[in-house]
Amino acid sequence: MKPTDTRDPDYYHKVVDCQWACPAHTPVPEYIRLIAQGEFTEAYLVNRRSNVFPGILGRVCDRPCEPACRRGRVEEEPVAICRLKRVAADHRDEVKHLVPQKPASTNGKKIALIGAGPASLTVANDLAPLGYECTIFEAHHRPGGLMIANIPSFRLPEEVLDEEIGYILDQGVELKTGHRIESLQALSESGYDAVFIGSGAPKGKDLRIEGRDEADANIHIGIDWLESVAFEHVDKIGKEVLIIGVGNTAMDCCRTSLRLGADDVKVMARKPRQFFKASPWELEDAEDENVDILVNHSPKRFVVENGKLTGMEFELMEYQLDEDGRITDTKIAGTKIIPCTDVILAIGQENAFPWIERDIGIEFDKWGVPIVDETTFESTRKGIFFGGDSAFGPKNIIWAVEHGHQAAISIHKHCEGSALDSRLPRGVNLQSAKMGVNEWMYSNSYTGEHRRQMPLAELKARLSNRKMEVETGYTAEQIATEVQRCLNCDVQTVFEAPLCKECDACMDICPVDCLSIVPVAEEAELRQSLRVPANNKDQDLFVSEPLKDTGRVMIKDENLCLHCGLCAERCPTAAWDMQDADIFIPHVDDETRKVAAE
């Protein structure tokens, strides 16, 4: 293996597992430290720069950062990164005057944004302060997209949404609600410099099996039904409800049903539990509210008596699994009728663009998904961009935000007439965290405390009020403990090979045995030659330059490093130092600053 080039900005970035996994690359440890210091407002603003909606995401983010979090490898569970984001949002002071403001004058460039979901809102958030005249067209009477129409209020209160969307609209963004775009051609001919399509993936999948049409009155398409509930067109449902599908939409449907009068709600899954698409915490939350989740039931037909739905017949499935848990064989072991009053279909969403003419230069693939560049988010027609669920199919809010950031950069370049792909690279800026002998700019001690449990509103009370927020937020004590669980992975171990005298002190003190001094070899061999074999291949090995006395190399397996700084405290020559890595993630305003600097 060659010595590691730590000047590659991605090397240290990858070490910050959470930040690397976050689509918007939120500097998680930085905001957790701010919370630890009681700087909630600062913590909120650090979040907002990356992910735009800290209050919203602090409640409902899909949190890809948490399964990635190093803490989950060191002990049982990851840091409650998402919950701590909410802490910053809940405890912040007024930030109206601290977020980007409406500019004194505009630059005369007009941008049309279709849909007021998180993708379009992010584009507007990034472009409006730079002087772009942004107009958002939204078919519904309220902005927010699926965040308002589908995510239930008991998970995401409307006030939180309104406040954070408000910060964006206050930057001088024009919002036209109740305004459905019926023709992209017409819009693109009405004088806009660029168009951003953030219209989502609005079509819920149907289940065309026997009895579907006869029972139509009691069969609901999940996302449409949730929207009707959110916009108060529907306020009740029958007593016995079956939810078909076991994704995140299904979880919202079952819990909403309980709040609209159902008392027997079953989620029907075709496959065993390990194949469920819903996040584990959403499954837990539903089961906590006494929802039954039945596995291995495949829908066969709707049972209709006297023109009314009375139940549903299922095939009982049996699966043969191989060693890796993949299904190798399927068998139907029988059938079963389960009585019900209503069925909600939550089996997926699709893109639909009936309002985009097929002859205006925008190409679609065979599934009706537009062809979009993964870096620039431009469609096959210049000046027309996609982002969020409309671009590559349904994802989540944080991906919509990241798409929005990237599309904003492209739109700016498009309007400037520069190449869309000549974007600022990411960077890393290192600064020693040393303040004195064994004194660091961060708290390097390790706590063995386990993850704090989110307190919940009382069950009966929350089921009787559809809008009552279930999660009540961490207490002061919980915050104080949880912040200390973060390992500060952005405080990097930085090695200076010429200083090392090979005394082994760092290797001996490392609590997770991640350092070794060994003869250099190819990666596969090297991974096995360490103090503890480096079997997590997702995690890099740091390889030093050859050491002066023996020509061996210092290897660090990044996998379990606690960032406790003990190697640096123990090193007699300061060959190891702890350095705070500031990962630079360019946004569109950085692009404009670069132009100004040139």
Binding site: V74, N438, N444, G448, C503, A505, D508, P572
Partner: protein, 350 residues
Amino acid sequence: MTSMSKPFIDKHLPKNKLGLSVRNYEGVMSTLCAGCGHDSVTAALVQAFWELDLAPESAAKVSGIGCSSKTTAYFMGQSHGINCVHGRMPSVATGANAANGDLNYIGISGDGDSLSIGFGQFAHSIRRNLNMLYILENNGVYGLTKGQFSAAADYGSKSKKGIENDQMPIDPCVQALTLGAGFVARAFSGDKTQLVPLIKAGLKHKGFALIDVISPCVTFNDHAGSTKSYAHTYKYYHPLVHTDFVAHADEVTGAYDQDGAMRVTMQDGGELFLRKTESDYDPRDRAQAIETLLMNKTEGEIRTGLLYLNSDLPDMQAANKLPKTPLNQVPYESLTPGKAALAKLQARYR
């Protein structure tokens, strides 16, 4: 020393036959200078004890005075130990060993502790063939008292202030050989691939096992001109034999027998494989060992490895026919047979 002790995390580590990870063999936080060789010897002891599947509480740690002697607190925290008066560890070890031969005696000393004030004690514990592993952490100075030359400092070696040592050194390995020790080794704190198997072999050797470990004092003797620095030791480091210790017969594989390795069965169980790294060195030849250490020291080579092995000598317990049962397991009535028995005994000497 660090600002905090090492957090206890061992879910990533393998367990030995007792179900323990290597972390279960550590002791309290070291207060030595960062980079001190002695800490590395501590880590090697922890590793060796773990690899041998010995219960941590089966260790009996004895030491004198010095930075080296302090380290008994840093390993096998669940076992008993004693810091004796300067240079007097061997006497205490002798008494303890006579009272309880079942424990694994680990003596930790320094070049100051063993070769000046404790020189006589050191010599006699070898003559007695006390069953113990005696580790002499050799840094050429009195570290604890701020870096005066010790009796092990080489002639011409320079102190931190640049003053040359003008006395001849005492070589503890040569001394041990002339005094009849059955297990004499030299190692370096910077090479655990050699040190760990030597510690294992030393623990399993029945009788006195000396390992003289070059263990640099990073604060007072790690400069240019010192012959006990890291850089100097790495440069002149010269292993003569490589030792592998295999504790369980079923783990002996072909890999150990290669290159005509010499196989020795230890009295306390386990097999030793000694592989020559240089033409004609035979660790069973005492005269050759002494000669190798004293003569032909071309270019200042530091010759390491298991320099001499004779596992047939009776240890103190056997030579003196001491009772096999540790005294703490002998019933009170037999230990103190009473006034009448004493009177009878005294009558024999009248």
